[in-house]
Structures are given as C-alpha cells and as structure tokens.
Subunit: 376 residues, 2 copies
C-alpha cells in the first residue's frame, strides 16, 4: 500500500511495457485489463468473482451512475467502492463518451454538453467541472478528463476542432480536480488518425501535466488496421514514466496488438457483454455456445482453462442453460470470458518481463489459427 | 457415506421431528428445505453457493428436464448431478404436477397423460413407467411416484377418484422402479382435505411400501388454515420411521407450521423466485426492495444475517441494482432468501433436538410481528 499514486515501469520488450501502478487502494499490474462495471456492477458477476479472475481494477461509468442512483447519493452512501463492495482501485470515465453514444437531444457548447437521460428523459449537464465533481463523489481512484470524442470518419478540420476543445476541457478538468493525494487524473489524447493532431494533443497534455495519459478517440469504428496505425506512433508521444491507457479496447487480438505498441491499460465491455449473448472467447478463438454442435458435447469450453465454467461444466450444459435463458449462463460465460482476458494479460506481463513478447505473441496467434476443437 | 438409503429419526418435540437421511451422495439433515433447480440450475445461483446456504439436497423438475435438454441426453452426459455440477443428493418430482400446471392440451387416461410442451408444442406422454425411466436417466437419489393432483376445491367424489388413480399409479411406479440400492422411491398421499380419503390413501401406500412418503395435493390454493388442518392428522397416518415430505411449501410460516405438525422435508420456488422479483424474506417478515424507502438506506437487509447480500451491501445498493435490472440483484436476493430459509431449518433442527420447539416458534412469530426496521 502507498499513500500516493505512483507508476513503476519494470520491464520493456520492444515497445511493450510491464509495470505496476500503486494506489492507496492497492496495486494494478500492467498491462492491465479493466472489466467494466457500468452501473455499480460488472454484470452477472459478484465483485469477489471479478477479483478471482485476476482483475486489479475496474471501470465505472460516470454517465450511468450520475443518472442512477446519482453521484451525490453514492457519496452520501460512502462512495462507489463501498456501494458496490469493491475495495480495489476504480477508474471512472468522464461521461463524455456515453453522452455521445446513449443520451438524447445533446447540445454541445464551449461550456460543456446538455442532454436528456436515456432512462427517464430528464435534462442534465456535463462540463469538465461537473465531471470532476461527480468522479470525486464516486470516490474513484483514477479520474478521467472530460473530453469530446468525434465519431470516425470525420474531416481533419472537425477532428482538429474537437481535439482543441478537448484540450481546453483538459485544462479546466485539471484546475477543477485540484490536489487530491492518492487520486490520479488522466489526460486524454485526441486527434483521430492524424499524426500531427495527435502530436499537438500530446504536447498540450504534457504542458498541463497529468498522472497518466489515455489514447482516446479510437475503437470508434475506424477498424483494427487504422487503430494499430495510430498506436504505432501515438503512445510514444506520451510521457514514458506515466501509464498509457487505450479506452474501450477490445477483442483479444486488439489487446495484444495494443500492448505490443506500448499500451499499459485497457477496458472493454466485450468479455462481459459477450458472456450474456453466448459469445465465448478462448485460446482457440471465439465460439457461439448457442450453436447446435455443442448440444451433446461433454467437453469444457477449454480444457486448459481454470475458470469455474470450464472446471465444472460441459459445453452441453452451457448450451442448455443459454438456450433456456437461465441466469447461470450469463454468470458462467461472463466469468469465463473475464478469466480468459486476465490470462492474456498475465501471459503478456510474464512474457514482457522475460523479454520474449514476440514468441508469446506468435504462440497466441498460432493457437487461434488452429481454431476451436472439432465437433464430436 | 452409506451404500443404502436410510432415515434416522433422532429427536422429537411434540409432533415435530429432527433426523437425518443418509444416501450414497451424502447426508440430509431434517427438517430439510430443498431449493428448486427446475431446469438444471437453481436460478441465479451457482451450485457452490446453494451449498453455502446450507442446503443438503435440491429438487429437479422431471417435466422441464424431459423437454429440455431431454432425459436421455442428460443420461448420456452422465446424469443430472454431473450435468449441473451438484454432487449432493437430488430429489426429482414425477412431472405430474407440472404437466397439470404448465403443459397444453392435456389428456388424462388410466394409462397416463399426454400433453403438448409449453416450450415448442411437441407432444409427449408421461406414465408411471416413463416417469420412473426419466428419473432413472436423471440419476436422482429420491424418486417420486407419478401421481395426479386435482386443483382444490373439488368435489369429494372427484378427489376420491383422482386419489385412487394415483394409488394405482403408485403401485405401477413401485413395480417400474424395481430394485435400485442407494436410491429411494417416495409414495405420495392424496385425498384433498378429506380425512377419510387421506387415511385410505395412506393405507394403500403403506401396503405398497415406500422409502419415504409425501403429503401431496396441498398448497394448491386451499389456504394455510385448511392446509394446517390436514397436517394436523395426515403425517401421523404415514410410517413413523420414514421421512415425510410436504410438496411445494411454502412461506416461512407455512414451513414452521408444517414442521410443527411432523413434516421432515419441503421444497418451494418461493425464496428463489421472490429473489428475482425483489421480494425479500427476513426474520422481520417480508419486504419489497423496489420500495422507495430503501433508496437511501445504508443498512443491510438484516444486520444479523450472515449471507453475502447482508454482509456486503446496503439496502440502497440492492434497491439500485433491482431498479436497474442488474443480474446481481437476482443473484444477491436469491442467495439471501435461500440463506434465510436454511437458517429457519437449522433453527428448528436445533430447537427440536433441545426440546424447545415451542419457545423457538414463539420467538419466530414475535420477531415477525415486530416487523421490518423503521425507515430512516
């Protein structure tokens, strides 16, 4: 335990980095994957189970929590950690991205954004200052700057204007955040897929100064090739001695490719959401448990996996409970997916420490290309 | 462990009984409450969690499992225990009751009943012989006779005819069950709320001879007073040295009243189903977590309860996740309800053993009458 937020870079292998983030709530081993606990719960998982998968930190959504149950209510109840029974670190996003993707009747100004709740239609406002206040109410350990994220493709001019607005908001976020020992504020690089804009954004963020830096504005429809193209240069624009966070990524191969390019932290709803829709990620790729080929299959999802779904249940059972719409289907498949994601992270951390990331990555891809076991 | 099925009556207090059922799969402490695992899962619970609540045995539904995934499929996959990852005893019902309450286009003859699946409309038949075969496929430890259960109120003549059909089916069930060391077959007493018919049914069952005896045909709309009226005499008509099982009961006070009258085993969907609809059972009675009074309440459901929901979460959190339709709401409230039910059972077992059932029962009712804690 430590009283202040601190990042320690422990090993590198090519651009890939292995390290640890220290916070008063505990340590985060990087590269880290953060499960998403949108509304105060990683869906279908008890927090003890999330910890068992190997997650050191999870992500909470400012947008959802401000609408329900409300940031001030969470504060009165002692903060998000106690509320949701998770005592390890929590990172909260700023709400900006979800406003753009979920809320109705958005109005964007220099001041911030007003919108209608997707839950009950009530009007709300988010500004850099209000976002900092909400994240303080929630008690999050890593606070994200309030930013604006344009959907891609967009014109260079639109991307540049949006990025510069986000940089002005980043400065206001920093001022509003103030001094909070033990809590970190992360800036968010924008600039789309344009190198000069990414450089301008990184320079601005470095001037302001943050505890960590996110690569924002990716994984919004540009495709893996374009995303990797940006990641080939963008992380190196950010300070080496601070964690680098790629927001909203991704599939297993996205994650591996991002770490290879110097990313330390990621989050995504994919493993948990897929668990509820029957999409399963294994070493051998992806499978759909609903498929009839699993109906009589006594084998586990992955015989080498140590998660409760693989230790205790056949594909036939998981197929049955998915088809029967039983809650345990979401519980077990989510657990498996999150467990597998954390295994990827642990594998990469060990490989980077040992200086054999390339070999690990080659094996990762080879196992996937061999594909799922043959039907019986 | 034991190679054969055996019941040991260890203490009595008035009509209340405390004992143990021994099976090759493990011991069942009685009075026992059996959570219902309808389709191969106690909804919203992992089996490890069901065991943690203190359940020694659970119930599986023949009707649901024969339709999906199918009895022969479960047999090929190694039986219900392995399929659903529950290695303790399982009791299966005969399918008769669910056919009457769920299936379509039922046709009842001396031979059995034909019906249409509520899932896909396919036609199926259940007879005493087929019910025994299905329960053997499932590998259940306690098998129930196939019976017919008329809804109450019904004329004495209809109840008598139905009871006599069930007794002929009981004899056929016994013949079809055959010799299965380590597995038990329970007969089911019928006869509605008519003492003479209950006596006739009990006499017939004793002639056939079973490992245990259920009081059937209650909890079908007759009300608690009428049910207790039957329980004042019906259990005593059954052999003292075999377990007595009251099917489909019930609310906490139904359970206590049944044990007081000599019942050893019960099952009910109420604690698990209520967990999914926000109805919570505590020592202080029943509460609805959806109610706005819980929205800002930092206290647990019951500060004296040791279940994960009460140890880790406020009423405010449980209210929030219920209102947000989060799966963890069903997970935690189901766990709490099942935990509370098992606490009742453990309390009664200890009280009977100590010869102070009346005092325990008085305290049970007094705590409920004091009602839930005041809103803040």
């Amino acid at each position: 335990m430590t009283a202040s937020f601190r990042f320690e870079l422990k090993a590198t292998d090519g651009a890939a980095r292995m390290g640890e983030i220290f916070t008063p709530r505990g340590r985060v081993r990087t590269p880290a994957f953060m499960p998403v606990g949108t509304a105060g719960t990683v869906k279908a998982m008890r927090p003890e189970s999330v910890a068992e998968t190997g997650a050191d930190i999870l992500l909470g959504n400012t947008y959802h929590l401000m609408l329900r149950p409300g940031a001030e209510r969470v504060a009165r109840l002692g903060g998000l950690h106690g509320f949701m029974n998770w005592d390890r670190p929590i990172l909260t996003d700023s709400g900006g991205f979800q406003v753009m993707s979920l809320a109705g009747l958005r109005k964007l100004t220099e001041q911030g954004v007003t919108f209608k709740s997707h839950i009950d239609g009530t009007r709300h406002e988010l500004t850099p200052e209000r976002s900092m206040e909400i994240q303080r109410c929630l008690g999050s350990d890593i606070v994200m700057c309030f930013d604006e994220c344009p959907a891609l493709p967009a014109s260079d001019r639109a991307v540049a204007e949006s990025m510069r607005l986000s940089m002005r908001w980043a400065a206001r976020s920093k001022a509003a955040f103030g001094e909070r020992p033990g809590h970190a504020l992360f800036g968010i690089q924008q600039g789309g897929v344009t190198r000069e804009l990414r450089a301008e954004s990184a320079e601005k963020l470095r001037e302001i100064g943050f505890d960590g830096y996110a690569v924002g504005g990716l994984a919004v429809g540009e495709g893996q090739e374009a995303m990797f193209g940006v990641l080939d240069y963008a992380p190196a624009m950010l300070p080496e001695d601070a964690p680098r966070y790629l927001m909203g990524v991704g599939k297993p191969d996205d994650i591996v490719g991002a770490v290879k390019r110097g990313i330390d932290m990621m989050d995504c709803v994919l493993p948990s959401r897929s668990g509820r829709t029957g999409q399963v990620f294994t070493r051998m790729g992806q499978l759909n448990i609903k498929n009839a080929r699993h109906r009589d299959d006594p084998r586990p999802l992955d015989e080498a996996c140590g998660c409760p779904a693989c230790r205790g249940y056949s594909r036939a059972y998981l197929h049955h409970v998915f088809r029967s719409q039983e809650i345990i289907s979401s519980m077990l498949l989510t657990w498996h997916n999150l467990h597998y994601y954390q295994e990827i992270m642990a594998g990469m951390r060990a490989a980077i420490a040992a200086g054999r990331f390339d070999a690990w990555e080659a094996a990762f891809h080879a196992t996937r290309e061999a594909a799922d076991i043959e039907p019986l």
